[in-house]
């Protein structure tokens, strides 16, 4: 008994030492200012130097929290109990958050620098007139292949993935709308189809893809492709850019049938406590130099046309990442298809996963 009490006291002692040292670390960060900005963003989705620069320029202290999926972020914002001033969700989630009044309308008189953004990325269906959101990054869904194992001439479209010689070669991103979407687009239907027959047809088609699938994975796709664990992958352009940076044999193509166009935009959630700081941050990120530095660091495509001028030419001229207007026509943005159909997509996807049992 005495020994246990001693142990407990020791643990309490260590706990307080830890607490004091974390206070000390906080102080050494030089964060005496109480004027904080709480950012809720994807992990590793901003150049940390820019956060320092922002703190220095504006005097706000940034508290940076991260999420790993739109849905997880949504749950946190919806439930409250937190004080995020700024979040960066994807477009379909923004659509949903607008409908559920989880984001605040933006006061455009407080926003400077929106003119730097390419008009093609403004006033889109999920947020007319950008009343709620400001573009941060954008990209597409496409195919990555390794030229050591795959002839680039042979893979141009989604339908090429069905070739029997790619048996067990393909890694797919673990997302219901992405994978069912491939089926839909190969059949020539819309990514946002709400037609049961079209969905069934797409699913029947996907059944034939199952033998070619090596694995359905998420962020790890990047690592696997760099390690050359698989020769073909279906993934997002930003991820692809990262892979190609690490492994020169990898190439990214936008399928001929078209693909998904996605956006990650900055919004001010209803949980915001410090809107002024949020506006300051939006304006800071709209600055072409900042946007260019961020795009260079993250490797995703920036919607900031003036920033593009500051980026290396080979980056901006790569049509796979900054597609021509012609190619853009085939791209489709996810719409909020409602719970019923989201559920159907998901059930089909679960069934697709089950097909691949050994």
């Amino acid at each position: 008994m005495k020994k246990l009490i001693q142990l407990a006291a020791m643990i309490l002692g260590i706990t307080s030492i830890l607490y004091i040292s974390s206070l000390y670390v906080d102080r050494s960060e030089g964060s005496a200012s109480s004027d904080t900005l709480n950012i809720f963003n994807w992990g590793d989705y901003i150049d940390p130097d820019l956060l320092d620069q922002f703190e220095e320029e504006t005097g706000y202290r940034v508290v940076y929290e991260t999420f790993d999926s739109n849905e997880a972020m949504y749950t946190k914002v919806q439930q409250g109990g937190t004080a995020y001033d700024l979040a960066i969700p994807s477009e379909y989630m923004i659509d949903r958050m607008i409908q559920e009044e989880l984001v605040l309308p933006l006061d455009h008189s407080k926003i400077e620098g929106l003119e730097h953004i390419d008009p093609a990325f403004l006033d889109l269906a999920f947020d007319p007139d950008n009343q709620y959101s400001i573009p941060y990054f954008w990209g597409t869904l496409g195919i990555v292949y390794n030229d050591k194992m795959i002839d680039g001439e042979e893979i141009k479209s989604w339908s090429d993935l069905w070739k029997s010689k790619y048996r067990e070669d393909i890694m797919l991103i673990d997302g219901a709308r992405e994978i069912i979407g491939i089926g839909l687009q190969t059949k020539g239907y819309s990514l946002n189809s709400k037609n049961d027959e079209e969905l069934t047809e797409a699913f029947e088609l996907l059944k034939g893809l199952a033998p070619n699938v090596k694995a359905l994975v998420a962020d790890e796709i990047k690592m696997y492709m760099i390690q050359e664990e698989a020769s073909i992958a279906v993934t997002f352009s930003g991820e692809a850019a990262d892979m190609m940076w690490e492994n020169e044999s990898l190439h990214y193509i936008l399928p001929e049938e078209g693909s998904n166009l996605w956006f990650d935009n900055m919004v001010i959630p209803k949980t915001a406590q410090n809107k002024e700081a949020a506006y300051a941050f939006i304006n800071f990120m709209l600055d072409p130099e900042v946007a260019a530095q961020n795009a260079d660091y993250i490797g995703y495509s920036t919607p900031n046309q003036d920033a593009m001028a500051l980026l290396p030419e080979e980056t901006v001229n790569d049509v796979q990442f900054y597609p021509t207007d012609e190619m853009m026509k085939n791209l489709e943005v996810y719409e909020n298809i409602g719970f019923e159909y989201l559920g159907k997509y998901n059930d089909l996807f679960l069934e697709f996963k089950m097909l691949r049992r050994d």
Binding site: A8, L18, Y19, N38, G43, T66, Q79, D219, M223, D242
Partner: protein, 279 residues
């Protein structure tokens, strides 16, 4: 013959050690890799340790993680031990089984469900998310494992000891202090250890109930994984692991010395024939 058999069992143990430590050694090895990935070793460097030293965010998160883990497992151990004693002394077998069932619910529920329902709970109560919500959740999901660790010890306890102590006029508190607790100490320590392990390990629950700038290592590692795990995390894990290794063996040897001293004394005492309890 006996010697040979003994060495076989040692060989087996060695194999298990090797299996359990291979990934750890792999991680440590690559924390010194010049290339930024755990893929190919290109050369020796300590730059990831340098990067770690400058990453105050990560250091603070590491400190917070251990604070939550140490504290939550301590509280969970206290509540869980008392709870286990409570369950043990319930007379009706049916009640006992149903209590145990309730106890195990959190052990079996997937983390995502626990996290989501705790989040609902905290927000319904208007609780501000942050350190305390994480602490309470960790206490909550660690309690059942403590109960499961302590209960078998109670079942093995010699009940006559309690009757004897009572006959000698001991009150309940004295019985608890001098009979029950000493005989279940190994279970309590194991429970604390497991609770600590669960707390350090948890991602999903913490993710849901954290907020306002508070994070634990696993949440941070998961969200950083989007860009591939940086070797900075390997470096941090290496340091923590070696620290833990040092602490555990240090604690053990101190204990050992103390016990050796004590054992000499207890051996003389003829009334103390109850087997010495090891931690």
């Amino acid at each position: 013959m006996k010697k040979l058999k003994f060495s076989w069992s040692n060989a087996y143990l060695f194999l298990i050690f090797a299996l359990l430590y291979t990934p750890i050694i792999y991680l440590i090895y690559y924390s010194f890799n010049q290339a930024g990935t755990m893929n190919e070793f290109t050369g020796f460097t300590t730059e990831h340790y340098g990067a770690l030293a400058n990453d105050t965010r990560l250091i603070r998160i590491a400190l917070d993680t251990f604070r939550v883990a140490l504290l939550s497992s301590l509280i969970a151990t206290i509540i869980g031990t008392l709870g286990a004693i409570g369950i043990f002394f319930v007379k009706q077998r049916k009640t006992q089984v149903s209590l145990l069932g309730l106890n195990n619910v959190l052990l079996v529920s997937p983390d995502v469900i626990i996290g989501a329902s705790f989040l609902l709970l905290f927000t319904m109560a208007g609780f501000r998310l942050g350190f305390y919500s994480v602490l309470f959740s960790h206490i909550a999901f660690s309690i059942p494992i403590v109960v499961l660790m302590v209960l078998p010890k109670l079942q093995e306890m010699n009940l006559n000891m309690i009757t004897a102590a009572k006959d000698l006029g001991a009150n309940n508190w004295q019985v608890l202090k001098s009979v029950i607790i000493p005989s279940i100490t190994p279970g309590i320590l194991a429970g604390y250890f497991m609770a600590f392990t669960y707390s350090i390990d948890d991602f999903a629950v913490t993710f849901f109930v954290t907020g306002n700038g508070f994070a634990t290592l696993s949440v941070e590692i998961y969200s950083r994984a989007r860009q591939g795990i940086s070797l900075e995390i390997n470096a941090l894990s290496t340091i923590l692991f070696i620290l833990a290794l040092g602490l555990v063996s240090g604690y053990y040897f101190i204990q050992q010395q103390q016990r050796n001293r004590k054992r000499k004394l207890t051996n003389i005492d003829p009334t103390n024939h109850q087997k010495a309890v090891s931690p």
